[in-house]
Symmetry: C3
Subunit: 364 residues, 3 copies
C-alpha cells in the first residue's frame, strides 16, 4: 500500500486534508466570506504542515546524517516560511513580524511547557541531555539580542532613524544566518557526539521512499502556498468578526497553526520519557525561526514585497521574546523536569495570550 | 506556666507589646501627633507580628503536615495582609503597592543576603537544598513576568488603557493564585520528598497548645488590624517630618516592619548552618506575597476600597522586583554560600534603599 | 642584558614604541593634523600599555601574594584610568563614559569570546575553574545594577533630577568601591584557596627586578599620560574624518586600544589550555573597571574637571553592559568551553559594534 495513504489512514489529523479542496471551492464561489475562509484555511493548513514535515524528514533520512540534518534544519519550518512569504508579498509586515515573534514564543513556551507537563503527569522526574538545550538557548539568546538592540539603541522616528534601522537589519540578518550556519557545523559536524541522543531520537516514524517524499514535498509546498494566500487575505477581517485583536491573531493563532505539525512528535516524545526529543523540537524550532526564517524574510523582502522589511519588532513583542528566552534558559539549566515546571512555563504563555487578547488595538 | 507568658519572658522583642496600649491611649488623647503615633505603631506592630507567626506555626504543627503547610503558606504573611487591607480601605493604593513590592524585595534581598552574611561569618562554605530555592525562584519569576507585562505592553494613558489594565489585572491575579495553589500541591503533596529538609527544619520553636494558639491568632489579628489603621493614617505625615520620601517609607520602612517576625528565625537558622530554613523563609515569603497576598488584594479591592486596584506597579518598582528575582536566581543557582555572596545581595538592597531615599518625590 | 631591552627585542608589539617620539614630534610640528595624531597616538599607546602591565606584574610578584594581588587589582587597568583622566580634565564626559562602558563590554565579550574561540580551535572541550568566573560575574552584575537603577528610576530632566543623579552617583561610587574592596578581601584572603589556579596561572612571564619595574611604572605612566592628552584631543576630529560615529570611537576603538595589553596573555592562555587565566583576565578586568576605575573617576571629577561627572550612562550603553553581563553569566555557568561558545559571545560583540557603527550621531 502507498505509505502516504497508509499514513493518512492512521493519522486522524490528516483527515482534515478534505478541507483543502473545500477551501479552494469556497474561495472561488464566496470570496467575501472571510470568516468561513479563515476557518477553512486554518483547517486545511494544519494537515498540510504535518505532511510537509513528514516529507522533509523522509528526504533527510535518505540523504545521510549530515545533509539530512541540514535539510531538517532548513526545511523544518517550511510551513511558517511559506505563510510568511504570502504575508510579505501582500505587504502585511505587521502580520509577518507578529507571526515570527509568536512562533518563537509558542515553540519556547507552549510546546516546551506542554511537553514538560504531559511528561510530568506520567513520570515523577524526567532527565534530559542539556548540551543540546543549552546550544539552542544560546542561539535564541543571540537572536534576542539582535532583535533587542535596534529598539534599545535608537528612536527611529526620524528619516535618519529609519535608514539606520534598515541598514542595521540587513547586517543583523546576515550575522544571524552566519551564526545559524556555524551552529549547524557545530552540532552536526565538529561536536556531533554531544548531541547524539537527540539526533537518534528523531527517527520516530517510518520514512517514505525518496520519490514519494520529494513529490509530496513539491506538491504540498504549492498547496500550502495557495492556502496561505487565502489565509493571509481573510485573517484580519475574520479576527474582527471574532472580536480578536490583530496582535492576538498573529502572535497566538497563526503561530499555533504553523506549529501544529511539531506538537504530536514533541508531546508523544515527552509521554515516552524522551524529553530530549521534545526539547530539541521546541527550542530547535524557535531558534530556527529566529536565526534563519526571520533573517531570510528580511533579505527576501528586498526582492518581493512593496518595500524592504526591517528587523525592528514592536517593543511588547521584544519583551515577550526576551522573557521566553530567559524562561527557556532558567528552565533547561537543571536538565530535569517535573510537572510543575511545565505549569510554570505554560503560565508564562497564558500571561502573554491573556495580555494580547485584552490589549486594545491602538496600543499595538 | 502559660506558654505565651513564658515566650514573652524569654523574647525581648515581645516586651515591645507594652507599646500596644500606649499607642491606643495616644491615638485617643493626641490624634494629631502623627510622628509619635507612627513611631509607636511601628514599635507595636513588630511584637504582634512575632506572636502572629508563632500562633500560625503552632496551629500548623497541630493540624498535620499537609494542612499545616497550607496554613503556614497562607497565613505566613498575615501581618502584611492586614496592614495592606487597612491601607486599601483608606484608598492609599500607592502605599499598598509600594509595601507589596518592598516586601518582595526585602525578603529576596535583605533577609536572604543577611542570612548568607551571618551564616558566612561563622562557616567557611555553607551548602543548602536547591530544589526548594529553585521552586520559589521560579514562582517569583512568574510573578515578575505578570507584573512586568502590563507596563511593557501598553501605555495606559487613555481610558481604553485603564480598562485594559483593570481587566488584565483581574485575570493575572486569578492566574497567580492558581499557580500558587499548584505550587503548594507540588511541594506539599506530589513532590514533597524533594522539599523534606526544609519542612522538617521549620520546627524551630515549641508549639503552643491549640486552644491558646487559636485564641492568640484571633486576638492578635484584631490588634494588628487596629494598630495598622493608626499606622496607615500616620505614616505619610510622619515620613514628611522625617524628611523621607513616600517611596522610601512604603518600600523600605513598611516592608521591614512587616517582615520583622521572619528575621529572627531566618538569621538564627543561618547561624546554625541550616541555610535551607533561611532560604525557605526568605524566598517562600517573597513568592507568597507576589503570588497570593498581592493578587488577593486586587480581588478584594472590588469589595472594599473606593475603586478597584490594579496590578500595575510604578516602573521603578517593577525593575527592582525584576532585579531582585534575577539576583535570587543567580545566587541560589550554585546551592553554596559564602560571606561575600551575602555582601553582594545586601549591596543590591542598599543600592535600592539609597536610590529611594534620594529620589525626589515627584519622580515616583 | 637589561630585561627591558630583552623584552622589547622578543615582543614585536613593543617595537611600536618607536611611534612615541614620532607622535611628540608631530604634535609640536603639526598640531592640526588630527587624523595623523590620532593614528600615531593609538600606535604609541598600545606598546606603552604592554610595558605598564608587565611592570605592574613585576612589582606585584616581588611584594608577596596579598599585596601583589592588591597591586594587580588596582593598577591592572592603569592605562584605561590615565586615558580617562585625560578625557575627564578636558571635560569630555561622553568620551569617558563611552570608553568605560566600552572597556567593560570589550573585556566581557571580545576578550572572553576570542579566548574561547582560539582555545576551542585547538582543544575539543576546555574546562575551567568556575568559582572565580562566578565571583567576577557577580561583581559585574552588582555594577550593572548600580548603573541601571539611576536611569530606570528617574527621568532626570529637571534640576531636581540632576541633583538627585549627582548625589546618587557619589553614593553608588562609594558603594561599588567598598564592594570591590570586600571582593579582594574575599578572593585574596578569606577564600583564596578557591581561586588558587587563577592566581598561580598569572605568573606567565619572567618578572623584572624591582628597581627596573618601579622605574618603568613611573616613566611609562608619565608617557601614557602625555600620549593620552594628544589622543583625547585628536580622537573626535579624526573620527569624523574616518566617518565613524563618536559612540563607535569611544565604545570600540578606545576600548580596544586600552585593552590591547591584556589580549596577548589572555589569548595565549587559551591556546595553552589555561582558560582560567583567560577568563580571569577578561572578567577581572571588566569588573575592575566597573567597580573601581569608573567610581574613582566619579569621585575624582569633583577635584579635576570643569563640573562633577555622574554615573548616569546613555541608556543604550546600559543595555549593552546588561547584555554583556548576562552573556558572561550564562556562558560561564557550565565551566566548559567549545569553539562555538566563543562564536556566540563574539557575535554579541559584533552586533554591538555594527549597531554603533551605523548609529546616526544624533541618536546617541
Amino acid at each position: 500500500m502507498n505509505p502516504l495513504i497508509k499514513d493518512i489512514r492512521h493519522n486522524p489529523l490528516l483527515w482534515l486534508l478534505a478541507f483543502v479542496p473545500v477551501l479552494f471551492a469556497c474561495d472561488q464561489l464566496k470570496p467575501e466570506a472571510h470568516t468561513l475562509l479563515f476557518v477553512l484555511s486554518v483547517l486545511a493548513i494544519a494537515p498540510l504542515t504535518v505532511l510537509l514535515s513528514h516529507a522533509t524528514e523522509s528526504v533527510a533520512a535518505k540523504t545521510g546524517d549530515a545533509v539530512g540534518g541540514l535539510l531538517n534544519a532548513t526545511l523544518g519550518n517550511l510551513a511558517e516560511l511559506i505563510i510568511a512569504l504570502a504575508a510579505l508579498r501582500a505587504g502585511q509586515y505587521m502580520l509577518v513580524k507578529a507571526s515570527m515573534a509568536g512562533a518563537i514564543v509558542t515553540n519556547t513556551l507552549f510546546i516546551l511547557g506542554a511537553s514538560f507537563l504531559f511528561g510530568g503527569l506520567k513520570y515523577h522526574v524526567q532527565e534530559y541531555n542539556r548540551v543540546s538545550a543549552r546550544l539552542q538557548a544560546g542561539l535564541l539568546f543571540l537572536a534576542t539580542v539582535a532583535l533587542l538592540i535596534p529598539s534599545a539603541v535608537s528612536q527611529a522616528d526620524s528619516v535618519a532613524g529609519a535608514a539606520f534601522t534598515q541598514k542595521l537589519s540587513v547586517g543583523l540578518a546576515v550575522l544571524l544566518i552566519v551564526a545559524y550556519g556555524l551552529g549547524m557545523l557545530f552540532s552536526l559536524k565538529t561536536h556531533r557526539e554531544l548531541f547524539a541522543s537527540v539526533e537518534h531520537a528523531e527517527a520516530g516514524e517510518v520514512p517514505w521512499p525518496i520519490g514519494l517524499a520529494l513529490a509530496t514535498l513539491a506538491g504540498v509546498t504549492v498547496l500550502v502556498a495557495l492556502v496561505s494566500e487565502v489565509f493571509v487575505e481573510s485573517v484580519q477581517k475574520a479576527a474582527e468578526a471574532f472580536g480578536m485583536t490583530p496582535a492576538f491573531v498573529g502572535f497566538i493563532i497563526v503561530a499555533l497553526v504553523g506549529g501544529v505539525s511539531a506538537m504530536p512528535t514533541a508531546f508523544s516524545g515527552a509521554r515516552k520519557n524522551r524529553l530530549d526529543l521534545s526539547v530539541g523540537i521546541a527550542l530547535g524550532s524557535a531558534s530556527q525561526i529566529a536565526l534563519f526564517v526571520a533573517p531570510v524574510l528580511v533579505l527576501v523582502s528586498y526582492f518581493i514585497g512593496p518595500t524592504p522589511m526591517d528587523l525592528r519588532f514592536w517593543p511588547g513583542a521584544v519583551v515577550m521574546i526576551l522573557i521566553a528566552t530567559l524562561t527557556a534558559s532558567l528552565v533547561t539549566n537543571s536538565a530535569r523536569s517535573m510537572w510543575f515546571v511545565g505549569v510554570l512555563v505554560l503560565m508564562v504563555y497564558l500571561i502573554f495570550a491573556m495580555t494580547l487578547y485584552l490589549l486594545p488595538p491602538r496600543a499595538q
